[in-house]
């Protein structure tokens, strides 16, 4: 317990880093997921921009990337991170890699959320002369908003999960903190403190997500 109190500055710093990583990956991964999901949805057979080759390639890519365990993906994507962010280590490198992995995971969720929109509503929009871009922004996304919010809440937890291995490439965060000061120094109280904070964080976000989704559903 005394050691935990002594570690308080590191603990809060780690918590800040987790929020930093999760915040940025939620933004970039969320945006990427939205694009991938829209791509999958719009190009599938019968949709407004149906395009079989694009759909097949995109679908295959998602299926290849998604099942790779993240710790392996992190190692495999390091050269790519070095190319894009200039470095293969540290928080920014891991933000890149998580965002990439999350784009594909979230893409699938976004696709499924969009499929809950009844095709008839899109047909109604087409019947008054709305084009694809207008349909995306005035019909698809607003109509799927409730499920989308829940989808993003769900992916938030996955992001916290993925951020825990940041330590392996020299990043920080609560996962790194728990490993470094708790697990390796046989100090379970320190590990549990990190666990507790993560639980509180996830609960808060889930609560917020549910509340927003309910507003979107109930309107």
């Amino acid at each position: 317990m005394d050691s935990l109190i002594a570690l308080m500055p590191e603990f809060w710093k780690a918590a800040g880093e987790t929020l930093y990583i999760v915040g940025f990956t939620l933004f970039f991964g969320g945006l990427g997921g939205l694009l991938v999901g829209l791509g999958l949805y719009l190009t599938r057979a019968g949709s407004i921009l149906a395009n079989k080759p694009v759909f097949v390639v995109l679908n295959l890519f998602v299926n290849i990337v998604r099942p790779i365990p993240f710790i392996i993906f992190l190692a495999a994507a390091q050269p790519l991170a070095r190319m894009v962010v200039g470095t293969g280590i540290g928080n920014n490198a891991i933000i890149f890699t998580i965002s990439l992995a999350a784009s594909f995971a979230m893409g699938r969720i976004v696709e499924q959320n969009l499929l809950t929109v009844t095709p008839g509503v899109i047909e109604a929009a087409r019947s008054v002369g709305a084009g694809p871009l207008r349909i995306i922004f005035t019909v698809l996304l607003p109509e799927a908003l409730g499920p989308l919010i829940l989808g993003y809440t769900f992916i938030f937890v996955a992001l916290v999960d993925m951020s825990a291995v940041a330590g392996y490439v020299g990043g920080g965060g609560l996962g790194n903190f728990a490993l470094l000061y708790g697990y390796r120094q046989f100090n379970p109280v320190v590990t549990w403190a990190a666990v507790l904070l993560i639980i509180v964080l996830v609960q808060l976000v889930q609560f917020l997500g549910n509340w927003l989704a309910r507003r979107a559903f109930r309107r």
């Binding site: 008839g120 509503v121 929009a125 019947s127 002369g129």
Partner: protein, 348 residues
């Protein structure tokens, strides 16, 4: 009276879907249909599900693209028009749907205003037009409600207000009342009737319910397997259907023709010959027909029948059981004479 001008004209239009599996057969949804809808018509298209009527109506606003043929909307062939150039065409054609297809994320007012946004109308114009349309469909008090707070009939009235927001000359109704109960159906049909009369909107209504045609339409086309098998004024088709499929539809609403089951009972009860006579308007003199039977010594009993009214004109059928001391030959002789006066169908 000036000749009616066609607002929608299909010329030998076909729609073929490619095979769903490799090596499978292609599906001909619409098979060489030609159809003319004149300004001010309420044109009913009736057929069983799968007959192709949903596809046909979607060809008119190019939600479905035809494989061949010409589709003229207000004189312009839209069949080969690229998607981008369809917007002005679609703004001139409203559409309502069986499942209403309202945007659940928008209020009633915002749903009605949606086509006006697409048409890039200024906000003031939109607001005025939305108020006007909601007043027309009697839902001004629901402007700020969301679709899931409305009943089915109210949703369809919002659908109608939305479809008419851009003041289109044509309204397509795709099974618009099929999801509604009978009473609400008649509210919506009355409203569509007002749309036609007050705004002069030409309406194309597709349905599998003959009473929709009976209440609303002035002309009707009967579809079967992608083809129009019969068409004409509603009164003509109702009173004298030429095709078996048309006759089946007519029999669902027209009182006076016994069903197969009822016919079996009648045959059992009346061992003699049974005929059905058609009476249309005042063109057939019932007294003369019955006079022929009396003169020939053929006695008859009315065993089934009914007289209907469609668009202010009446027609009907009477089924008679005939007996004669003179036997079949005297009955044949009188039936030959009656055939010159009206349509006679021998049911046994």
């Amino acid at each position: 009276m000036p000749a009616p001008s066609p607002v929608v004209e299909l010329r030998d239009v076909s729609k073929v879907y490619p095979p769903t599996v490799k090596g499978g057969a292609e599906v001909v949804a619409i098979d060489g249909v030609s159809l003319t809808v004149d300004a001010g018509d309420v044109y009913g298209i009736i057929g069983y599900s799968g007959a192709g009527k949903s596809t046909l109506v979607r060809l008119i606003n190019a939600l479905e693209r035809s494989t061949s043929g010409e589709i003229l909307v207000n004189g312009q062939d839209i069949a080969r028009l690229p998607e981008r150039e369809l917007r002005p065409v679609r703004l001139g054609i409203g559409m309502i749907f069986q499942q209403f297809n309202l945007l659940g994320s928008r209020t009633v007012a915002a749903n009605v205003g949606y086509p006006l946004e697409v048409a890039r109308q200024p906000k003031d114009t939109r607001r005025a037009r939305v108020a006007e349309m909601l007043d027309f469909v009697g839902l001004s008090d629901k402007a700020r409600a969301y679709p899931d707070q409305l009943s089915g009939g109210q949703k369809q009235r919002v659908g109608i207000a939305r479809a008419l927001a851009t003041q289109p000359g044509i309204l397509l109704a795709d099974e618009a009342t099929s999801a509604l109960d009978p009473e609400t159906t008649h509210e919506v049909l009355d409203l569509l009737g007002r749309v036609n009369k007050e705004f002069g909107v030409t309406i194309v209504v597709i349905t599998h319910e003959m009473d929709v045609i009976q209440t609303l339409a002035t002309k009707v086309a009967v579809m079967d397997q992608g083809r129009v098998i019969e068409r004409g004024d509603v009164f003509d088709v109702f009173s004298n259907p030429q095709q078996p499929a048309s006759a089946r539809f007519v029999s669902t609403v027209v009182k006076g023709l016994p069903s197969a089951g009822e016919l079996a009972v009648l045959r059992h009860r009346h061992p003699g010959r049974i005929v059905t006579l058609a009476f249309r308007d005042s063109s057939v003199d019932q007294a003369r027909v019955f006079g022929e039977f009396a003169a020939a010594g053929v006695t008859f009993e009315v065993v089934y029948g009914g007289i209907n009214e469609i668009q202010g004109r009446s027609f009907g059928h009477l089924t008679l059981a005939l007996t004669s001391a003179g036997g079949d030959s005297s009955i044949d002789a009188v039936l030959d004479r009656v055939r010159t006066l009206t349509t006679v169908t021998e049911v046994r």
